[in-house]
Assembly symmetry: C2
Homo-oligomer: 548 residues x 2
């Protein structure tokens, strides 16, 4: 059955959300019988994909629906346990591809928490009233501040390596040394000690920010939340917040239709054609008039959902062809509205959401080819789709049955700063990492429709076939892609999409994730005698002792 990433508003099975003025409290209370598949119970606030889909929804709704919230406390409803991490039996029984995709989504959710702390004035505070273990501690690591109760029982721990033979790879090892900057030898000790670390040592090693006796814990958490809220620059403005309505979407066997985004699957070629429609009207006059139908918001919600759906439920569809349809001027006008009102909290959220969704594309293990055809509107925010693609083809000329005006693309202000990739660079700067002058040259054409020859000369597209060659070129690219090893393509794209600098975020998806994926395949973890499979059986794992 297809996994859905939509959560009906407020209908959380595993979480409770309480908003009290500027402070929201998100309480993890995982339903043991609420697992997405049979075969495991979600004990001790352990989680599976369904639990995390709800968390991602909460992060999102807090940002869009609650202008008043300036600090978020992440807590647990369970006695003595904050969160025990990803459910081990779920992991043990999962297929490799599921494990990898699950980790990718949970990584993105934790990055969304950090994005809220950094850019939305909603500082997340992990209030660990009990042990935070494995993915539970990794969840705390995604928060800005970690408070741990000091009661001789509560600890923070990364027991993945000693108990399960895998890594703490939902960002854990990277955040340990690159975010919290735990000294590498202490990180080594910590990540090999199943019982974890508690009390003063946890503070000394910078694993947590403070330990607080239980009698004062609740009060201390409230104080820290109030302080964070007081420091926040989130400005409510005149908008009461958006209650994001359910997406208007229709799924059939080989089609997904949203209002602005349409997906058609060609199973023979293992290819999905994604078409994104531009705005059908002008932006509103004021940010206070924004509702959920705002094109910039609606289109990114739909695109985000389509990406998640295809990524999770259509793993054999290895190539995505991305087209746009509509008026470039209208896209640029929608962008201009956002950028002119960027200091409005809700507009800021729309831009940040677009940024996150484009980042999802960057780490998606599918070949992405942008097709710039007559009638398309690859401008500004939608031109980012072409910049995110592995290749972009522009048609030089017109097609017999198509619009009369040749295709063009347009650089907009959205391409020049507000939408950085995980590596900290814009996609345009990443593209021209070889030649910063070429980037500047391209930028001087901001706002001008660039026809095929010009786009090619400026280095903005991969090729510009004419109308005679177009269909063949596209067909060959698709067929060729479908003939290659899907694994090798995943590795290729993961390498060449991220040119230049690395950040904590890109290290999580590269260094950490790639090693974890390797470990997940190894018999020492996932074989019948491996640590992941034998955990909880009473039998010790049997390891191949050779170091690779």
């Amino acid at each position: 059955m297809a996994v859905s990433f939509e959560v009906p508003a407020g209908a959380y099975r595993h979480w409770r959300l309480a908003v009290d003025g500027p402070v929201a409290t998100v309480t993890m209370d995982v339903a043991e019988d609420g697992g997405g598949q049979p075969g495991y119970e979600l004990k001790l606030n352990s989680y599976d994909l369904g639990v995390d889909v709800e968390l991602a929804d909460i992060v999102q709704r807090l940002r869009f629906g609650h202008p008043e919230v300036r600090a978020v406390v992440l807590a647990s409803a369970k006695d003595k346990i904050f969160c025990a991490g990803a459910n081990i039996r779920m992991l043990a029984q999962a297929e490799h591809a599921w494990k990898v995709n699950f980790c990718k989504f949970t990584n993105e959710t934790r990055l969304a928490i950090e994005d809220a702390s950094a850019h939305s004035g909603q500082t997340w505070i992990a209030a660990c009233g009990g042990t935070a273990s494995g993915g539970g501690y990794e969840l705390a690591l995604a928060c800005d501040t970690i408070l741990l109760v000091d009661d001789r029982a509560a600890a923070v721990a990364l027991p993945e390596l000693p108990l399960l033979g895998v890594l703490p790879a939902t960002g854990g090892l990277t955040r340990l040394v690159d975010k919290r900057r735990v000294r590498r030898d202490l990180a080594d000790v910590f990540a090999t000690r199943a019982a974890g670390v508690q009390g003063k040592t946890a503070v000394d090693w910078n694993l947590v920010d403070e330990v607080v006796p239980r009698v004062r814990f609740a009060e201390h958490v409230a104080d820290r939340a109030a302080e964070a809220a007081a420091r926040s620059t989130r400005a409510p403005g005149g908008h009461a917040g958006l209650d994001l309505p359910p997406l208007d979407r229709t799924f059939t066997a080989d089609r997904l239709d949203y209002r602005h985004v349409h997906v058609e699957i060609d199973r023979a070629n293992r290819c999905a054609a994604i078409t994104v429609d531009g705005p059908d009207g002008p932006p509103p006059g004021s940010p206070d008039a924004i509702d959920a139908s705002l094109w910039s918001l609606a289109v990114v919600r739909e695109l985000d959902d389509a990406v998640l759906h295809l990524r999770t439920n259509e793993t054999e569809i290895g190539t995505w062809l991305v087209r746009t349809r509509g008026s470039s001027g209208a896209v640029l006008a929608a962008d201009a509205f956002l950028l002119a009102n960027r200091d409005h909290w809700l507009v800021n959220e729309v831009v940040l959401y677009l940024k996150r969704t484009l980042k999802r594309l960057d780490v998606t293990s599918r070949s992405i080819i942008a097709l710039v055809e007559p009638g398309s509107c690859f401008a500004g925010s939608l031109f980012e789709l072409a910049l995110a693609a592995d290749r972009a083809y522009i048609l030089d000329g017109t097609l017999p049955d198509g619009p009369d005006t040749p295709a063009s693309l347009t650089i907009g202000a959205m391409n020049l700063g507000p939408l950085p990739m995980g590596n900290g660079l814009t996609r345009l700067a990443t593209r021209f990492h070889h030649d910063p002058e070429a980037a500047q040259r391209a930028a001087t054409h901001e706002g001008e429709p660039l026809a095929a020859a010009e786009a090619l000369a400026l280095g903005l597209v991969t090729a510009a076939p004419d109308d005679i060659d177009w269909d063949d070129e596209v067909r060959i690219a698709v067929e060729e892609r479908a003939s290659f090893s899907p694994d090798a393509l995943t590795g290729l794209e993961a390498n060449i999409r991220f040119v230049g600098p690395e950040t904590m975020e890109t290290k999580i998806f590269a260094r950490l994730t790639a090693w974890q994926n390797w470990i997940f395949l190894r018999a020492n973890a996932s074989g019948p005698e491996g640590a992941l499979r034998r955990y909880g059986t009473g039998q010790r794992p049997a390891f191949d002792r050779h170091r690779v």
Copy 2:
């Protein structure tokens, strides 16, 4: 049979070395029947580990033995082919661990070429008189300049993905976008086109620096080499160069003994005890008096060989305990001699070689624990061994049968700059990435022997057990390490050793290598129907089409 990394001087089977004044020519002429294992022929200048061991030796001997050489031309003796890359049948029949270790060594050799271009005034020029394909092009990428003959036949190519279902992972993808800064969509096209790219397009995409007609090729290569030699800052000085003699080494079943380095293997605990002896005398009075017995050079040659031997031939030995023995003062005097004469080309080579060997440790998939005991000399260059270790324990006190003076360690100038890790930081700065002030505080103690309590307080060691606890602490650490999944340890260490920034070099060992290792394990590459196994059989590979 154990692989040896020693090559008797000049006895190359696969290469020819010719020195003509300031220009050396290294000609690849691989013997088809010279493979290290049965089952494959080294056709078309394809290589296996033995071929690369010889190349590494050449790079080394050019640096130590040839003060006059200021440019190196890398050429091929074969008609129409520069180098076809790693031998595919060798890869197809190799065990996973062999493949991974082979790639690690070849990566290190290519980095040594770049180190020679960057720091030894020996600029390498790839003279591709024929096609450079796969690992052959990756070898060219390691050179400073790539010249390709322009004859409608010669091309550069990375056919790994389309033909073999694996990545160009001997640095290929990373150097493509981060060194040569090929635009990412062009890199995508290039790395999926088995036939490669030739002529003007190869120059336009920056895959090569120049294409030159065959009639002018030899002359042009000579001109470019002469120009590079003229630009070189390599200053011959008064030393004629060292002809590195064979290592004085004795291997028995569980011991390796060199002059200064001793290794004892404890198979029950899957542990190797490595002891490095300090200098037994003062440094020479002048750099011109250096011979191969110079402690700083001899010890690093021995250590390098021991690391390679253990890494390749002792894969079940997962933990390395590193001790030193001797006078800290003598180590610091040896270091001071090197640093006072750093502008002497040969001294410079010794420091650079030490740097490279320490980097080998950093990427070695073994747990490294430094044991700082009474009588040890962890000072300056040898203190780097403790800084490279995953943990360092210092004994607080003395042992009944040991020396009377308690253990200490000493920061020296060698710890403060000349020996950066691949991430560009010193090991001390990496260690204190969390706290630059702590790094400065530690540096103020340069030259002072730091006893256990002080070393612990300064954050230079992981723990400082006393004489009562020492043996137990060490035993427990070793036993615990031996109980863990070797794969998970490899992943852990690969992540937490590299804190902070990434460079092209670290990206090769992390992002690129980790993805390749994952792909190597996948049936799409290495299964009986995988692309690597089916290559050359006439049968097409059968792929699992799911994207992970």
